[in-house]
């Protein structure tokens, strides 16, 4: 009971802190002067991270197995990974745009896990026989980390697309004022200012140059984080295959979840291959990565919701035929 209460408290603290962080983020977007606020938002994310860590550990002690055995737990784990990704650049004193992606991502996954799902899903369940393996930790943690990093990277790519697309609009449609009033342009300005701080150098204040710089940065960071995500995804899929060879009788069963993970893998393989062609690097690969975003969600969520195949642990039985 004490564990349940503790878990409850931690869930709510982490969610409230993340909400506050989001609000601070929006404030700093609108009013650029609040440098102190930005710092406090970083501290907020640290708090969220600690709360989520506490939550996971509590659940671990209380249920006796690693808390990544069902959808709710994996969502909490996902937002925990998001907060880690958020923290890494902060500790390296290396600010980049990732924080604008990871903070809302944490917010949404956390919010969805706490509110969106039925409350009875929150109850920690027993492990079905097939899940009782050392591979569970390796496979699921790698997969979820992979999803988190890939989601971040594909969101960066989507941001790149949005910015490029806006630029095109601005060139053709001359109504600058209208666009300047709209929100995303503020964001762009904000991010550009950040890039200015980051570079620590003086550039001629040409708007287009900043935009070019920003797109380059987005492209680069998107590529780097997608590489990490792809690495995790590969290890996750392969460890899953080895596990399946221990538990289900074959290393590959064409189970829907498995298949969609492979589709995700294929999509990001395509992403890396489009990048090898120098002339089409930025835009095409960004389109592919944005498609990848949808596919990750189908893989992570859609297949679970449909409850088909061997991976649907809500209704999992031992029968594999």
């Amino acid at each position: 009971m004490i564990f349940l209460t503790l878990e409850h408290i931690l869930t709510h603290i982490s969610f409230s802190v993340v909400s506050i962080v989001i609000i601070i983020h929006f404030l700093t977007l609108l009013v650029n002067e609040f440098v102190g606020l930005y710092d406090s938002s970083e501290k907020g994310m640290l708090t969220t991270f600690l709360c989520l860590t506490g939550l996971l550990i509590t659940r671990w002690i209380y249920s006796g197995h690693l808390p990544i055995s069902d959808l709710y737990e994996s969502l909490i784990f996902l937002s925990w990974i998001f907060s880690i990704i958020h923290m890494v650049p902060y500790f390296k004193k290396h600010k980049n745009y990732l924080s604008t992606i990871t903070a809302p991502s944490t917010f949404f996954t956390q919010g969805f896990a706490t509110w969106g799902l039925l409350t009875d899903m929150h109850q920690s369940k027993i492990l079905v026989p097939a899940l009782q393996s050392q591979w569970l930790i390796m496979h699921v943690s790698m997969m979820v980390s992979g999803y988190a990093a890939l989601l971040c990277g594909s969101l960066l790519s989507a941001a790149l697309l949005v910015i490029t697309f806006r630029k095109v609009i601005r060139i053709f449609g001359k109504n600058k004022n209208l666009l300047n009033d709209s929100f995303p342009v503020d964001e762009i300005q904000y991010m550009m200012e950040k890039s200015n701080i980051l570079r620590n150098t003086f550039f001629p204040s040409s708007r287009n140059y900043y935009k070019f710089q920003l797109i380059q940065q987005l492209d680069h960071w998107g590529f780097r984080i997608l590489s990490i995500g792809f690495l995790f995804l590969t290890i996750g899929i392969l460890s899953g295959a080895v596990w399946a060879n221990e538990a289900w009788g074959s290393y590959w069963n064409w189970d829907p979840k498995e298949t969609w993970a492979f589709i995700t893998w294929t999509i990001f393989t395509i992403y890396f291959h489009t990048r090898t062609n120098k002339n089409l690097e930025g835009l095409n690969s960004a389109i592919v990565a944005s498609i990848g975003f949808l596919i990750i969600w189908i893989c992570y969520f859609g297949v679970n919701l449909l409850g088909i195949g061997l991976h649907s642990y809500g209704s999992f039985t031992l029968i594999s035929n």
Partner: protein, 564 residues
């Protein structure tokens, strides 16, 4: 600066060990890149069209493209030198550039010789490979949307001709293209095979030559070509030796010759894509062996009974050959389950004994889910269970073995039942006691009228009184559902998995190269990297900050070293 001095006398000798013959400049644009530019547009257009059309359309667009590609490729293809040599060297160090003499291809014979190369060129085409991957992705997605392995009638109903999905997709498509068994359909397997050949072709014609080029380290002899790099900087008063030491400290391999410096690190990052491709090929080869050379089978054995391995296993392909171990006889000593406190099933266990032809026990193991038995290439998995019989004692008679029938098998909850007739067995409306069980833990009993009487655990020896009869449930006998297989492909696939993990990790490394040239007292530094571009710039900036500035007194000495 003074602190750094002691290392200086070391430098020449250190660098001398690295002295190798200078190699021609090859960091130049290749002709190959050009045709790809406009071909990707083609494939992008066809991607938007529908799936089934995609595969054919992509191929045709590749044919067309192949034609105009060969125009530019012809000269390259006709000479038999490896593709590395076909790369042109550009202005930077023109004097070092090697030109391979172009032999004139001779007529029909030349064409025949060119043909395999031409096929290779088509296959190694990047947009083609991307198209193949995309098609495979779409086919796999279709395979999860269309229910697999159903009877044809199912598809007649699901995809009726009167009301086609998307306006054209009917059961005819499904059954003709074999989409009812997608992952073994000729379309899917063909695409995989095509991708495999593309992988091989690309590795052979593009990747290996590129890596060969990358392995050859080379100096840049003009400040201009150094300034042309992605990153470049000019240090007004510095020595290239100091830079070398600092780069070495940062983990670079440094080569120095006269005023020129070349340094690189993370060469593994350049080679790893080849490794990834080879690992993929290894996995594909292993999977092919699995598909053609394995045996599979499943069996449900009641506790206490035997089966022979060879009777259960059925071959899956033409390479499947039985082994000696197929004569092994398996005896199920015991099947039992573990339960959680709440009554849910925790784990299934089967105690198996293996006997060879002479009846000698060769192995004994208790298997469970996640812990299979392996013997002589055969793997036995615990995958299923059922209840086969109840041992019941009635009024101290018996025990009787009552066979259990499955009442509900689908889904999460299984239900088994049996019936103990009471009175005249031959009468038309025989009545009796019903016994139901969800697992081996507890048996629910109902009397002749169908009313609930009570629950008993097997082994409890506790009698239950039903209409004056004393019933004791002695034991519940389970059957173990076993899955057996032999799979000669697993070691190869696992080797591929290992290689793929390793090379994917290595792919995160970036191959960074730094060139520098001493020009009087100034050093021009340039560099490039293939992946971590942002980090590389920061790193080089940080390293360049560390390069000591040279004061006048040591300057003359420095330039002596540099020139001599």
């Amino acid at each position: 600066m003074e602190i750094l001095n002691p290392t200086k006398p070391l430098n020449p000798s250190l660098f001398n060990t690295h002295f190798l013959k200078p190699l021609p400049l090859l960091n130049s644009k290749t002709i190959k890149l050009k045709p790809q530019v406009h071909t990707l547009n083609n494939s992008k257009r066809s991607k938007l069209s529908l799936t089934i059309i995609t595969c054919s359309k992509l191929n045709t667009s590749k044919e067309i493209k192949n034609k105009d590609k060969n125009v530019s490729k012809k000269i390259l293809l006709s000479n038999s030198a490896p593709p590395v040599a076909s790369e042109e060297s550009d202005g930077g160090g023109g004097s070092d550039g090697e030109k391979v003499p172009v032999k004139a291809g001779s007529g029909a014979l030349g064409f025949l010789k060119r043909l395999p190369r031409r096929v290779l060129t088509v296959l190694s085409n990047l947009p083609l490979a991307i198209g193949e991957m995309f098609t495979i992705g779409v086919l796999m997605a279709l395979g999860t949307i269309i229910d697999q392995g159903e009877a044809p009638e199912y598809y007649f109903q699901k995809f009726p001709e009167e009301n086609p999905v998307l306006g054209f997709f009917t059961w005819k498509w499904v059954l003709t293209l074999g989409f009812d068994h997608m992952y073994s359909s000729p379309v899917f397997l063909g695409m995989l095979a095509l991708l495999g050949t593309s992988l091989m072709a690309c590795t052979y014609t593009t990747q290996i030559p590129l890596a060969k080029v990358a392995r050859r380290w080379n100096y840049l002899h003009s400040a201009d070509s150094i300034r042309k790099q992605e990153f470049s900087d000019n240090l007004p008063r510095a020595s290239v030796q100091d830079l070398g030491v600092i780069l070495m400290g940062a983990g670079y391999e440094v080569f120095l010759k006269g005023p020129s410096l070349y340094a690189f690190k993370g060469l593994a990052g350049r080679f790893s894509p080849i490794g990834v491709h080879l690992a993929m090929l290894l996995i594909m080869a292993g999977a092919t062996l699995t598909a053609t050379g394995s045996f599979r089978g499943s069996v449900t054995v009641p506790q206490g009974l035997n089966f022979v391995v060879g009777d259960v296993l059925g071959p899956s392909g033409f390479l499947s050959t039985p082994t000696e171990a197929f004569n092994t006889e398996v005896h199920v000593n015991r099947f039992y389950m573990d339960y959680y406190d709440g009554g849910d099933i925790k784990q299934f266990h089967t105690d198996l004994s293996l006997f060879d032809l002479n009846g000698k026990e060769v192995m004994r193991k208790t298997i469970s889910v996640n812990d299979p038995l392996r013997y002589g290439g055969i793997t036995m998995y615990q995958t299923d269970w059922s209840i086969s019989a109840l041992q019941v004692r009635k009024d101290d008679e018996g025990p009787f073995n009552l066979a259990m029938a499955p009442l509900k098998v689908s889904g999460d909850n299984k239900l088994y039942g049996t019936f103990l007739p009471v009175g005249d067995v031959n009468s038309p409306d025989v009545k009796g006691i019903s016994m139901l069980a969800r697992d081996l833990q507890s048996i629910v009993l109902y009397d002749q009228e169908g009313k609930f009487v009570g629950v008993r655990r097997p082994n409890s020896k506790l009698p239950i009184d039903i209409d004056g009869m004393k019933i004791v449930i002695e034991d519940a006998i389970g059957s173990s559902g076993l899955e057996l297989k032999t799979d000669p492909g697993v070691p190869i696939v696992y080797a591929g998995f290992g290689a793929l993990m390793l090379t994917t990790c290595m792919s995160y490394l970036s191959h960074s190269q730094v060139w520098a040239l001493q020009d009087g007292t100034a050093v021009t530094v340039g560099g490039k990297t293939n992946r971590a571009k942002g980090e590389f710039q920061d790193e080089i900036n940080r390293l360049l900050d560390k390069v000591p500035e040279i004061v006048e007194s040591s300057l003359s000495k420095q330039s002596d070293v540099a020139s001599g």
